[in-house]
Symmetry: C2
Subunit: 199 residues, 2 copies
DNA sequence: TCAAAACATTGAACTAGGACAAGAATTTAG
DNA sequence: CTAAATTCTTGTCCTAGTTCAATGTTTTGA
């Protein structure tokens, strides 16, 4: 039986190879630089005020990032499950304090790079610049779409869109988090769902 | 007197060197691949349905990108003035039809790369991978912030925030475009401004 | 296994912002 | 210079979504 680390390397290697095709050597440099970590449920990987020092790939589990405004209201920025990356890229890259939280919602297993390690990776295997560019581009594209939906669509459409786009999430996260993601109140989401149910 | 092209190269070279420091040779490869173009006011650089084939740096003028929903309502995604880049990155990169419009609001002068040229640039001077990654990261960070504001802040705060962040824009673009950017109606923005005026 | 905590639903009262319409002001182009 | 087009303002009425509060349901953990 192979150790868990190598088994997880296969998963992450396959995931990144969808964006860019790497040589065996590049992958091996990458794998050597990754750190594996188990994180319990409801644990913070980052708190607002701290500098984000991980760019993490989720092997198992589910997490969220959120912003907390002055009045204490949460805005959920992202849910991440198996196969997704999670970080605060601005804070990570400029090594400045973040203003978001990253919290596990289930027990997670992650593979991550810290800031120095990522720079080392980019030096030793510069093709990863391209990979990370494509990753951020995809993220931007998703965020832009979400902005459009948030501005232009009524609550019910937003919710139906969410179900279509992320069908696995509702089973895994509390409903009021989804409301926060959609930018509506938990109560109103409940009413939207009640309306949908009787159709 | 030097030809305009070389004068504009200085401007763009200085702009990109804020992100990554390039060698003279890299800059010269870059400059040779750029195309200069004058574009009249109210001209489309991209229409929804077409594949986006420019990644443009604005040397002079002002443009906007917007999404047009099924009911004909516009959502403005970005204003761009001197020193900004404008494109639909998703469409450009995957060479698939875009669903946004890019339109000049003033007569513009731009320097741009098309898809092939950009790939050539990245081959000949791979350090540009890093530059474009940083550019997209910054864009993502701005978009995330805007999403948070859109969801969590009332109209007046959004407007004041906008004034603070982009003080030069209101002089240059019609007010109802700003309303669209903020995700509020033109009429309501007018009322917000009236309220502000009498304080 | 059961008490406490977290989550979801429902209803009633309220409000931020939208839609529409009409007029005033400003810009544009011939 | 002037007519047409675009933009901005203001008012009235309306609604999607909020807030608060009470109740029911599910999950958690000792």
């Amino acid at each position: 039986m192979q150790p868990y680390s190598s088994q997880y390397n296969d998963i992450i290697n396959q995931a990144i190879s969808k964006y860019v095709s790497f040589t065996t050597e590049e992958l091996s440099i990458f794998n050597d630089l990754l750190t594996y970590k188990k994180v319990p449920k409801k644990t913070f990987l980052l708190k607002a005020g701290d500098v984000c020092d991980i760019e993490a790939f989720i092997v198992k589990g589910c997490a969220r990032t959120y912003y907390l405004d002055d009045k204490g209201a949460e805005v959920i920025l992202q849910f991440a499950v198996e196969g997704w990356w999670i970080s605060d890229i601005a804070s990570f890259h400029e090594q400045v304090p973040s203003n978001i939280f990253i919290e596990t919602l289930e027990a997670c297993e992650i593979l991550y790079l810290d800031h120095n390690t990522k720079e080392t990776l980019l030096e030793k295997a510069p093709r990863f610049e391209r990979f990370f560019r494509l990753l951020v581009q995809r993220n931007l594209s998703v965020t832009q779409n979400r902005l459009i939906n948030t501005i232009a669509k009524p609550a019910m459409e937003k919710y139906l869109d969410f179900l279509k786009r992320y069908p696995s999430i509702p089973q895994r996260v509390p409903q009021h988090y989804i409301a926060s993601y959609l930018g509506i109140s938990a109560e109103f989401l409940s009413k939207v769902r009640a309306k949908l149910a009787k159709q």
